[in-house]
Symmetry: C2
Subunit: 416 residues, 2 copies
């Protein structure tokens, strides 16, 4: 009855017992699961295709393909959708991804809002909600209640449409360990907070998975699957919320590091315009607002309105505001040059509030990046703005579960 999505554990820790001379612990996973994911991805890539097409494309024999397809249909991951007359004259049944049965939920909680996204197995938006939430001013318990309330409404809505929930994942601006414990989310005032367990309880121990991850990681996942540069192998995603976080796509996958904390970019030291400081202080949205407000303390609830005000003034030609944006752009370029040297990404995606400010920010960011990074690395790195905007982390949260299915961790429909 219960549906579970197993957490990905491959290649994680535990290498010590392998000892010298052993190859890396790689994909000693189940061949069947690999093949299920392989067939699903092939169908997705083709849009619609027959079992014979699949056999030809995958190199698997027809009996194996039929068996894999039968399981995927039973699991409500694929469905039969019409038929075509082939060359030989016999009609071939076409397969496509079943977008009608499952829903995956992603939520983001941040200092001044919550976002919820629900998607089907193809990533089509079923729900997209955004509401004000004083994350900075709330206790952790109140935030959990608000999160659970929002999620429950979404679950009920999906239920009423006959959809089964695949999982609920939450994006949090902070350091999250592999177990979904928030080690530290300074702007929410959370530390060592087991959000996963708390939320599971608030949701009354649901049968589906409840997961928590870093907002930058999940933004990167969304960009990598749905953004304007989807599919790029090496991508650096910057959140651009009040604080600055980054998510790393390396060789086609999100990389979380040994403890789940990779992507902390805020502590990078930069020297720009005669000032030396950290990226988070000089190159964040907070740096923009602080410089313009000439006050270091921004009320958590007004970020969005303040950014809009900055945009309005910049559009009107306010030279002081434009100078601030250009200076923060330079600082961002200086910080990015270090990350680009280390990671050599193909694309750097600016998310959150950066797109709204990009017209004034990005030219100086690019100039500084090219002046500072190793020429070979800088030459590869294109700076682009997110077209998923503030929805990216919540969308990425919902997407992570889809990626697990693509990798072969198949769901089980209720009642089977």
């Amino acid at each position: 009855m219960a549906m579970r999505i197993a957490a990905k554990a491959a290649g994680r820790g535990g290498g010590a017992e392998l000892g010298p001379g052993r190859p890396r612990r790689a994909d000693f996973t189940d061949v069947r699961a690999n093949n299920l994911g392989y067939v699903l991805r092939q169908v997705r890539a083709e849009g619609r295709c027959s079992r014979a097409d699949l056999a030809a494309k995958t190199g698997l024999n027809k009996a194996t393909v039929s068996s894999l397809v039968a399981e995927l249909i039973e699991r409500r991951v694929l469905r039969e959708s019409g038929s075509v007359i082939g060359n030989i004259g016999r009609p071939a049944v076409l397969l496509s991804v079943d977008t009608g049965y499952y829903a995956s939920l992603g939520v983001e909680v941040n200092v001044d809002y919550m976002t919820l996204v629900a998607v089907d197995l193809e990533g089509n938006r079923l729900l997209s909600w955004r509401r004000a939430h004083d994350g900075a001013g709330s206790t952790p318990g109140k935030s959990v209640s608000a999160l659970a309330g929002l999620a429950k409404r979404a679950v009920d809505k999906m239920d009423s449409e006959g959809r089964q929930i695949l999982g609920l994942a939450v994006a949090v601006p902070g350091a999250i360990d592999h177990k979904g414990v928030v080690e530290d989310a300074p702007r929410l005032g959370w530390s060592d907070f087991d959000l996963t367990s708390r939320l599971r309880r608030a949701m009354r121990d649901p049968e589906y998975a409840v997961l928590v991850d870093n907002d930058a990681n999940l933004g990167a996942v969304a960009e990598h699957r749905f953004g304007s540069h989807a599919g790029v192998a090496d991508m650096l995603y910057l959140t651009g919320e009040i604080g600055l976080g980054s998510g790393l796509i390396v060789d086609g996958e999100l990389r979380r590091g040994a403890g789940g904390f990779a992507g902390e970019i805020g502590n990078l030291l930069i020297e720009v315009d005669g000032r030396t400081g950290q990226v988070d202080d000089l190159a964040s949205i907070r740096a923009v607002l602080a410089a313009i407000a000439e006050a270091d303390r921004i009320a958590g609830t007004e970020v969005e309105a303040e950014v809009e005000d900055v945009v309005t003034r910049a559009r009107a030609g306010d030279e002081a505001v434009i100078a601030v944006l250009e200076r923060v752009g330079r600082a961002l370029g200086a910080g990015l040059s270090c990350a680009v040297d280390l990671l050599n990404p193909e694309v750097v995606v600016l998310g959150g509030h950066f797109p709204a400010l990009s017209h004034w920010l990005v030219p100086t960011t690019e100039a500084e990046l090219h002046a500072r990074a190793h020429p070979a690395s800088a030459g590869n790195a294109r700076i682009v703005v997110s077209d998923l905007g503030h929805e990216a982390p919540a969308l990425g949260a919902a997407t992570g579960i889809l990626n697990d299915i693509d990798a072969g961790l198949m769901p089980t429909p209720l009642g089977s």
Copy 2:
């Protein structure tokens, strides 16, 4: 007749055509090749095992296992090595990796030496040569001749032992693109130098692969397969030659970035002991020697002797020398804190000359890393010294080819 090792191309570039909503371009590779690699890795992990063991371990059926094993034996990758009487009483033939047929060659060229390593399919050392070479003072052409001369002697030696060469890979301290062109190797004075083609020609267009890669990348490959922390999923390797380079193992594999230039760590800005500067200037072996010589210019040919002198003086309690090492250690910790925040590795391996200096260097490096990096990331990162020493890049060069075979890119023996 010819034996080729295909270059790994999966997941590299070309993502643009996938468009939004498509999953990452992943492992749509040949299932047979995957399974060949899978069986090989399983035999390697077990040491010796029967076909029945393999069927049980891999989940593949017995006929498939027999067919895969037959191909691996034909390709001289596995061999039959004795038999055991099982429970049922019938003797089962045992399989092991065939270490008697192939040899893989790795060479490192650096400012003051060349190293050559030959290994069999298990990574056992067949040759390990090191000789002085004035890389900094030679023209690129002279270095190619010296490299080719060394490699030819190794090829002849392997030939005389009846071994077939799998490939020749060269480690270079510089930025190398995906085609093996040295974009920039400042300490050798090379730029935009097509070492791969030049060396191929000097070796008279051999049937085996000739490859060129960055020394830090290859050092990381060696550490990840043979070092004291082999198999760890997330590792940062630092070269510790005259300049400072790094190689990134992320989620169990070497990551090269979009253009092949990942790991440039030298430009990171740090502020330590009241000085602001770049890691390569403040935390490299060059920084140690320059501070002690009180001269910024080190003759390329004397690095080894100078490091030995530093060790002798530190051992004798020379306070000025120890103070320099502690200061460089702090600078290294400051630089590492940025890389550790971004990558969250489990292990940081100090290679090259660092092990000789580690007694005085590492305590301050650790202290500074923990003071500066995000606590969650710093808590994960162990700093260890390489036990492969200066041989690591050449060993890694030879190992890369073995890793390709492990991944299913099988060699073809001559005459088949």
